[in-house]
């Protein structure tokens, strides 16, 4: 599994203010015309980002999924058919053939920044 290296990032794009995102949940942002799902794990102080489109049936819905963890590894379940994806590498945990693109996230001065290749 490929995990994106920081060096590939061409640009950090300011997505929205931290308080625009729900606690322990996700929301979608539009970044350079692309739909990206951002997840705020308030309890762990961690953030994750993936493509918003579920690769299973193509719905723009990953951001509306329930978040959580499986043995400590963060994951999200697509609200449509409950396919679950690792937020660490985007791999589908219930069906090998699907994969989400992941993006690095950082917080600066109260804003959520997404790293775009």
């Amino acid at each position: 599994m490929e995990i994106k290296e920081q060096t590939e990032i061409k640009e950090w794009v300011k997505a929205a203010a931290v308080e625009d995102f729900p606690r322990n949940g996700g929301a979608a942002v539009l970044v350079n015309g692309e739909q990206i799902a951002v997840f705020n794990f308030t309890n762990e102080g961690r953030w994750f980002a993936t493509q918003n489109q579920c690769p299973h049936k193509g719905e723009m819905a990953i951001s509306r999924g329930l978040t959580g963890d499986s043995e400590g590894h963060p994951k999200v379940a697509c609200p449509f058919h409950k396919k679950t994806f690792s937020l660490e590498d985007g791999k589908c945990l219930t069906d090998e053939e699907f994969q989400l693109k992941t993006f690095p996230v950082k917080i600066e001065e109260g804003y959520v920044l997404i790293g775009i290749e």
């Binding site: 997505a15 942002v29 539009l30 090998e96």
Partner: protein
């Protein structure tokens, strides 16, 4: 130096030989060398279809490649043996290597039988047997538009379902006059056929394929009766052919219909050569199921070790699930004779067929067939195999007990310790009980790990569960059903913890009693519990709500939502109807009348929901909770106010009851109905609670449902007045909310409630637990907290602001697209 056993074949039987070898004293005397012609080590071919649907090969391996090394077994995959030299006692492989043996075991298995049809070599024709076959089919699917499967047996139907699920219209072609001719009789096969046809699988019987047409590529099939079928992908599943070519060329005896001939000790005529599995003919037949092949492997290991065991034939009972339809046959399923008695139950409208074959004296069960519903399979198979004397009314096995309460006849407790529970691994009831008792295997996964029971076909898993529960009960203990890895508590325990600690949020609960970040299982369960206990506004904790509850609307294709205002009892004024029409028109929503007597508006974007609801609320509507595990509708017939047969005013009562319980959140959705007379036009007995007018008052029925497994509600109390109906309903619903497992409808809850309907009557009507008042008070408390969720959202800017597609933009989701249909719109296919 150790002597050498060479095993040709690393399929399921070959692997079983390795496994038994590794745990026997033989490993001290012999070195085992195994040849497999496929690139993967042995895998679970029984579950090949799960590879088709995406399971990775590694998960289907019977043992990882490293296992063979660890047990000092030399495994050579991708190495096909092409010759045996019996004089020199050597085998040679395709890679031109030669290996000597002291003992040679042939477990060469079988290949798919490909009938000699003209044109069979064309592109687009496949078999369904190995990982490689499936890779080839998958690769071809995008080029194909119509599939056909030759062979209406077990494997053919699985293959047909797999290609159908990949989006290809599919036809099944069977040479015989019925599907699964080896397992089913004509009546059972007919029921299966209509089930398959409901799923858009075409079934063609009595068809002998004569020619495969097309220019290089398959384009169609031509049958002996002159008819034709268009298809550009063909899967052949016309049975198996034993792989006996190696034995044949080595001069060993093979059967005229194929198969290496061995005796019941698995011996060939050559004292150094043995054969096991699907490649052999023993007792004049090829044994094409995994369980007898496993038995042969075990017998051979023991015999090489000096024993003298014999393979005496095997129970060929089978059960499988095809497209959601259970199909099982056991014992002597197909006997036709005057010497037996049969009991047959057929329900064409529900697609169920059951047949029991009983001995002439009525004492023993010989075999039978189950289609459409096969929960009784494991127990019936046990009754046959253990020759258990039949109860007085054996029909109770397939009809369920009538008249009295409690289940029919015989349970796991009645089985002897020698009863084989897992026939794939040959594990008895005694083995399983001793694993529970002495090895502490107190869960089904632990039993599987400890005994290997349930690791073959998996069919005995429900029986493992029953045995565990039976054992625990005999010890006065219970099996705990904990929620998930984040909470080591049952739903009922969490209910009490939330109440006692007065927790109002998920975060408080997980900090105090759970671990980690939660998941998609525990979050909605806790959300439902919090709502059932406090009836607070669920939107305050939107990110723990399940899909539809998060945005108070049902998510539909393409991520748009539907809107269902409450229309209590199905009664609506013309003014309100006009408002619904105006709102639908303004926002261009698709409208449809629901089964619950209300109107569903489809196709709203998430950002449009608050504005739509604002207009509906201004006109006097409330949320219909169509999105929640909560009260949906109380359906009514028109009742005595208009109907000339009506006994009482069912509409007024339905409205009263719907208004009372609206917004009540429960383990699963709740539906009700009120009928004004016994004609039952409101279909109230198909609901979680149904109220039906009688001359003297009302009859109250509970725990019915429609859906996939319809069930008529049972009578809880008769001829009671309205106040008593409401009192009993309060108690019944509250008791259900407090004790049911998550996502369990009332009917399933009742089925698992110890003591069944009798006990429920005791609690609700006779108040045997003395909790009647408390239940009523708790219900009154919940009702007093009711607020329309949508009204709250529309009037609270902070909540309203959550209904946006992007948090950083007012753009709408450009993935949403519609196409027209009959003057309205529907979502375009993604």
């Amino acid at each position: 130096m150790k002597k050498r056993i060479v095993l040709i074949g690393n399929g399921m039987t070959g692997y079983k030989f390795c496994e038994k070898f590794a745990s026997s004293p033989l490993k001290e005397q012999y070195k085992l060398v195994v040849f497999g012609e496929e690139p993967h080590p042995a895998y679970d071919r029984v579950h090949l279809t799960s590879y088709y649907t995406g399971t990775v090969p590694d998960e289907l391996l019977l043992a990882p490649a490293g296992w063979y090394d660890e047990h000092n077994i030399e495994l050579l995959t991708n190495e096909k043996v092409i010759a045996i030299d019996r004089e020199a006692k050597t085998v040679s492989s395709e890679k031109e290597k030669t290996y000597s043996y002291d003992i040679l075991v042939l477990a060469t298995g079988s290949s798919a039988f490909v009938p000699p049809i003209e044109g069979i070599e064309k592109e687009g024709v496949f078999v369904y047997r190995t990982f490689d076959d499936i890779d080839k089919i998958k690769k071809y699917i995008p080029k194909a538009s119509k599939a056909a499967v030759i062979g209406g047996g077990l494997l053919g139907l699985e293959a047909a379902k797999a290609v159908l699920d990949d989006g290809l219209p599919t036809s099944i072609i069977e040479f015989a006059s019925r599907l699964m001719p080896r397992q089913l009789d004509p009546q059972g096969a007919n029921i299966l056929k209509s089930k398959l046809e409901n799923f858009d699988l075409e079934v063609l019987l009595n068809k002998s394929t004569e020619k495969i047409t097309g220019n290089g590529k398959l384009e169609g099939l031509q049958f002996a009766d002159g008819s034709t079928l268009d298809a550009d992908l063909l899967v052949i599943s016309a049975g198996i052919r034993p792989r006996d070519e190696l034995a044949r060329s080595a001069g060993l005896e093979v059967h005229q219909r194929g198969g290496i001939v061995v005796n019941s000790k698995m011996e060939t005529a050559d004292p150094s050569i043995f054969a096991i599995g699907e490649c052999v003919v023993v007792h004049n037949m090829v044994w094409g199921l995994v369980a007898p092949c496993y038995e042969m492997a075990e017998i051979l290991v023991n015999n090489i070790g000096g024993q003298s065991q014999e393979f005496l034939g095997f129970d060929l009972s089978s059960k499988l699930k095809l497209i959601g339809t259970d199909v099982a046959s056991f014992g002597e399923a197909l006997v036709e004779s005057d010497k037996i008695k049969t009991i047959v139950y057929e329900n064409k409208s529900r697609g169920i067929y059951k047949r029991l074959n009983i001995s002439e004296d009525g004492k023993y069960l010989l075999g039978g067939i189950l289609v459409g519903e096969a929960e009784e399979y494991n127990m019936l198979k046990q009754v046959v195999n253990n020759k258990i004397a039949l109860p007085e009314n054996p029909e109770d096995f397939i009809l369920g007990a009538r008249g009295g309460e409690g289940a029919a006849g015989i349970g796991v407790g009645d089985l002897p310790d020698t009863a084989a529970i897992c026939s794939c691994e040959n594990i008895t009831k005694g083995d399983i009980l001793s694993a529970i008792e002495t090895d502490g295997a107190e869960s089904v996964p632990k039993i599987k790990k400890c005994t290997k029971a349930g690791t073959g076909c998996g069919g005995c898993a429900p029986m493992l569960d029953d045995l565990l529960i039976h054992y625990m009960k005999s010890q006065g203990r219970e099996v705990r059903k904990t929620i998930c890895e984040h909470f080591d508590y049952t739903r009922q325990e969490l209910y009490d913890l939330i109440k006692i600690n007065e927790f109002k949020s998920y975060d408080e609960l997980i900090l105090a009693y759970g671990k980690g970040s939660g998941c998609e299982t525990c979050k909605p369960v806790v959300a439902s519990l919090l709502a059932s206990i406090w009836n607070d506004l669920i939107t305050k904790q939107d990110t723990i709500q399940d899909t539809n509850d998060r945005f108070l609307a049902n998510i539909q294709q393409r991520g748009v939502y539907s809107v269902v205002p409450r229309i209590p009892g199905g009664e609506i004024t013309p003014e309100k109807l006009i408002v619904i029409g105006q709102v639908a028109k303004k926002y261009d929503l698709y409208t449809k009348i629901t089964g619950g007597q209300r109107i569903d508006l489809f196709g709203a974007r998430v950002d449009q929901l608050p504005a739509i609801w604002e207009e509906l609320i201004d006109a006097g509507f409330e949320s219909g909770h169509a999105y929640g595990k909560s009260l949906r509708t109380v359906k009514s017939c028109v009742g005595s106010t208009w109907c000339r047969y009506g006994m009482h005013d069912s509409v007024s009562f339905a409205i009263e009851v719907e208004d009372r319980y609206k917004g009540l959140r429960s383990p699963h959705k709740l539906k009700g109905g009120v009928s004004g007379c016994v004609r039952e036009c409101a279909e109230a007995r198909g609901k979680d609670f149904g109220i039906i007018a009688t001359e003297k008052g009302w009859n109250l029925f509970v725990c019915g449902n429609g859906g996939a497994n319809p069930r008529h509600a049972d009578l809880l109390a008769s001829d009671i007045d309205k106040e008593t109906v409401v009192k009993y309903l309060d108690r019944f619903l509250m008791y259900y909310i407090k004790t049911a497992e998550p996502l369990t409808r009332t009917s399933k809850w009742l089925a698992s409630l110890e003591g069944g309907l009798g006990y429920l009557k005791d609690v609700v009507v006779k108040d045997s637990l003395g909790i009647g008042n408390k239940l009523e008070e708790e219900m009154a408390e919940l009702i007093s907290h009711y607020k329309c969720e949508w009204t709250e959202v529309v009037r609270t800017p902070e909540l309203r602001n959550k209904f946006r597609h992007f948090v950083n933009s007012d753009e709408i989701d450009n993935n949403i697209k519609f196409v027209p249909l009959r003057d309205q719109k529907i979502p375009a296919k993604a």
